[in-house]
Symmetry: C2
């Protein structure tokens, strides 16, 4: 007896998510681009992050430079705030930046034009329209012609100080709680965790204000953050994600808007952009 | 440099949450009712749960009976599913129920009439209207005249099998991820965690399907769940929560809809029911 036990059978009115995925075609999936894939190794295992140059080209390029130069290797997760974020940085602030920049202008929004946007049919509290762009939860506003990546669970962003141009990628955070959508359009989003999220979300919360750890002994050390493209091909993970511009993904959205297994009595008929699963698999 | 660093000063257009709370009056707060307060003791510390008889009177009464009889003492947290729930139960199923019932009819919704409902002004994806009832995130539908407690982070519900009347309170879950609002009106909500949430949310995720632990050694043991009213007065915690039917709470909502500290560049102008803080304090 569990919450949301999944029944094997579906009723005639629609399909369950497992049924939708079982019927997917190879072309519905895409491999992660090694140039946009980070491997972050911490004691508990590996966290895989997909970068989003569509939304933050300059920050992604800067983070690639930092990673290529080994900037994050030996740094630490210094913050875990319950129902909000984990964050990593250089606790000493002394590490040299090499060819990377310390700060960049914020990339908080971008023109909506030029993006392949799979729109959700349901209302959103925060944005005129939400949906997905290349696997990233996103929003857009026809009135301003802008689009932005939205803060869902697992999204990766760029820590900054009060000035909009005070971040650059040396400090990154990952959302570990209910979507903090008030951050949307206020900070640069540059990726999302596609594997290993549970290694970050289960870290002990920091006892100081804003979830900061108080002592270096409480930090989680980062052995390495590497770009898949910097590794030999045989050391890259064969991870694929479901394309969000496919009929299969549209079917998946519908299967989650109206759950068809035997457990649900009142299908929601709606879905929040941060409740849509983004399937990941190892390449068959 | 952090995400959402809080500046000490606010601009002239509004107040920050700390400013709103600093101006609160004693009557804006209410002590937890000992008859509706559970203390759950696990190795990491104490989790405090406020029960919601407004929404689930029969389940709350049944859980009080279970707790009074020591039903949960020595049981275990048997499930932790990332971005969803932790859940506890009797792994053996052998524990006697005493005077309590194993199952009850679901209390998924109730009449909206008779509730003090503080409505939010913003649209919600899942419900015609959201807001707060006696400190609990809630929704209502004028078309059906019903109201229900909604699944936000920290909300406590009653595990059930496929049949709507297959739960009774022997298995309880707590939301530890992004609000799974598809559960609304499908399952009985009977409370929320008001203290110690970080002790549940940081538990290692279970490796089996749906976050189940695979071996008893992975369980988190529950030393006791006790009702505050069953304890001597001097052993009860002096916890107060901000009343949600006050002008102070309405001011707090506004301070969070439009963040006024120096960090935010684009106030959201909106808020999701699950992003509104529900302040808790030790009685002064």
């Amino acid at each position: 007896m569990t919450v949301a036990m999944l029944a094997a059978s579906a009723n005639a009115a629609g399909r369950t998510m497992p049924e939708v995925l079982a019927a997917s075609k190879p072309a519905d999936w895409r491999p992660l681009d090694p140039a946009n894939t980070l491997y972050m190794d911490i004691p508990a295992g590996r966290v895989v992050i997909e970068l989003a140059p569509q939304f933050a080209p300059r920050h992604v390029e800067n983070v690639r430079t930092l990673v290529h130069d080994g900037y994050f290797d030996g740094l630490a997760i210094t913050r875990s705030q319950d129902n909000f974020v984990v964050q990593w940085s250089d606790p000493t602030g002394a590490r040299p930046l090499g060819a990377a920049k310390k700060t960049l202008p914020g990339e908080f929004t971008r023109p909506a034009q030029g993006l392949s946007f799979t729109a959700l049919p349901d209302p959103d509290t925060y944005a005129p329209q939400t949906g997905f762009v290349d696997g990233f939860p996103a929003a857009r506003d026809a009135a301003t012609g802008t689009a932005w990546a939205v803060h869902c669970y697992g999204v990766v962003g760029v820590g900054r100080d009060n000035a909009a141009d005070s971040g650059g990628g040396t400090e990154l955070y990952v959302v570990t709680g209910h979507a903090p959508r008030q951050l949307d359009r206020n900070i640069t989003v540059l990726g999302r965790v596609v594997q290993g999220m549970e290694l970050l979300s289960a870290l002990p919360r920091g006892p100081a204000p804003m979830g900061m750890y108080e002592k270096p002994e409480q930090y989680t050390p980062i052995a390495h953050i590497r770009l898949a493209a910097d590794l030999p091909v045989d050391q890259r993970l064969k991870i694929e994600v479901l394309r969000t511009d496919t009929a299969t993904f549209t079917d998946l959205i519908e299967s989650r808007r109206n759950r068809r297994d035997d457990w649900y009595k009142v299908p929601a008929g709606r879905i929040d952009v941060c409740n849509v699963p983004l399937p990941v698999r190892i390449a068959p």
